[in-house]
Amino acid sequence: MTISPDELAGLLDDATSDLGGAAPDFAPVLAQGRRRRRNRRLATTSGVVAAVALLTGGVIAVTRPDTASRVHGPADTVTGVLSNGFAAVRDVSATPGYGQPQALVLFAPAEGPEGSGPKPEHVLLPGVAGVRYDAPTISPDGQWVYFVRDVDGPNHVQSTVERIPAVGGDPQVVIASTTDGGPYRDPVVSPNGTRIAVAQDGDVITTGVEAAGQGYDRWPARIGEQDTLVGYAPGGDDLYVLSTLSPDGQGDRLAVLRRLDHATFAATDVQSFSFPVGDAACGGAGISATTEPGSSVVLVIYGGCGTPLTGAVIRDGRLATSHRVGPYFGTTNAYRPMAATPWRDGIGGGYAFTFTHQDECPRGGPVVIFHGSGTDDEPVDEGSLSC
């Protein structure tokens, strides 16, 4: 009663073969990998922030290069834990396609005084045909990379949630596959690193991270296909969900951050975001959000298709700040927020937003950094982008 992706691909190819042309070959995968590594600086005004991310210990230190000789002190150094921006899924095949193998890669911090040097990378899991990795997430203590493994099976996608030591090793199954049901999506780890939640078919599944083979809780949370699990809310039990509305890409797009109560499964609106869709042909603006593990700060990046990127920070369930964090590059959906780190010195203050951009940097994983300058009241109109 089912059809495999290969069989369906053959039927679709055959149905349109009279229209001429070769089978689609849209994805120049290797071209991306070969693209020249860029390090662009867009900053034009005074005060440039350098963000140096240290994976070991999960500390992000932010300071200004013009005061770089100053040792990071309590006023300059803010601890946070790196989110999934440093673990990436890489397409490894020369042949594009829906079933192409992917590798799971961990990017270590950049070398160099401003994080401008090459980033050592570690292939945690090499590419295997028919196997896809999704949504790699680093645990709050930086010791584990959690991910979803999707394998095309004879009847449906066999989906498991697994984790692998960040230093390399054998993966462990955290949530086993089910014999039916859709794939797991959006794994998020609790701030204390002991629990994991994942969405499947509208439900939320939660379990202990070391509960392989044991039971788990299934919440009837009615997660829609346009909804994304963002992370754990303060307290470590409730969950944040981001819902995107206006699905037709017409007019303004609205996104709502909701808090999902772990006891009642009821959702409460926390913050809504409205942004112009922009060029309809471009597909409009996008939004993505994540929490900083260990602190339950929600970061949101939105904009796109001509709309400048805006970063928002929600702390303790309330909007803490909202900044224009930089110009627009490519499709907004390519942006994944990782961290927002507050900084302040004699000249100004703001947040340093750190996120990944899958198209902008080679090999899909490295980090893009935008930052504020001046005071909180000034529009943030500068940023640096480095891979």
């Binding site: 691909a9 149905a15 071209a31």
Partner: protein
């Protein structure tokens, strides 16, 4: 921020440094390379494939207009795919409106002028797999076509559709499950 607490962002100037030297050359290359495949993609996205060529033509026109922001082949190709997906949505809505107006007026909608590709389009229209696709929701159909016909990865399909990767996974999973019983005897 508005009174109801909704954050709003306004249009701003687009700054795209480091753009490719010649967007024209870029698009000419992609016209040769991708046009036929995009027509096939468009034909599968539309409930009526007759508009497929128009959609692709319009996508290239818009890509020319957006030339400033197309930095390289990869981003231009992604822009074209995304534009085809969105124009196919608009085209589908437009045709639905035309049909409803015609039905309300008690007449058949005006037929398109038969083109040289009419026979090929008829074959697309009547293919069992396309008839089965017509029963899916729009997003399931887009995900299925982009992934399994277009050969896009989950992340590329998500970018083309403007949804998350997780959503693409769900759409494909449910779409395959729905198509299976309908296409079983074709395997």
């Amino acid at each position: 921020m508005t009174a109801n607490g909704t954050l709003e962002v306004q249009w701003g100037e687009q700054r795209v440094p480091g753009r490719a030297a010649s967007a024209d050359a870029l698009l000419t290359g992609l016209w040769v390379r991708d046009r036929a495949a995009l027509v096939r993609l468009s034909a599968l996205l539309l409930s009526d494939p007759a508009g497929a060529e128009d959609v692709v033509q319009e996508a290239y026109v818009r890509a020319c207009a957006a030339g400033r922001s197309l930095r390289d082949e990869s981003s231009a190709s992604a822009y074209l795919r995304r534009t085809v997906v969105n124009l196919a949505r608009s085209e589908g809505r437009h045709r639905t409106v035309v049909r409803r107006h015609a039905e309300r007026a008690g007449r058949e909608p005006a037929a398109d002028v038969p083109s040289a590709e009419a026979a090929a389009l008829d074959r697309v229209r009547n293919a069992r797999v396309v008839v089965a696709l017509n029963t899916l929701g729009r997003r399931q159909r887009e995900a299925i076509v982009l992934r399994y016909f277009g050969g896009l990865t989950e992340s590329a399909a998500a970018a083309a559709m403007g949804v998350s990767i997780g959503a693409v996974k769900s759409y494909c999973s449910r779409g395959l499950a729905a198509l299976g019983p309908m296409l079983e005897d074709l395997r």
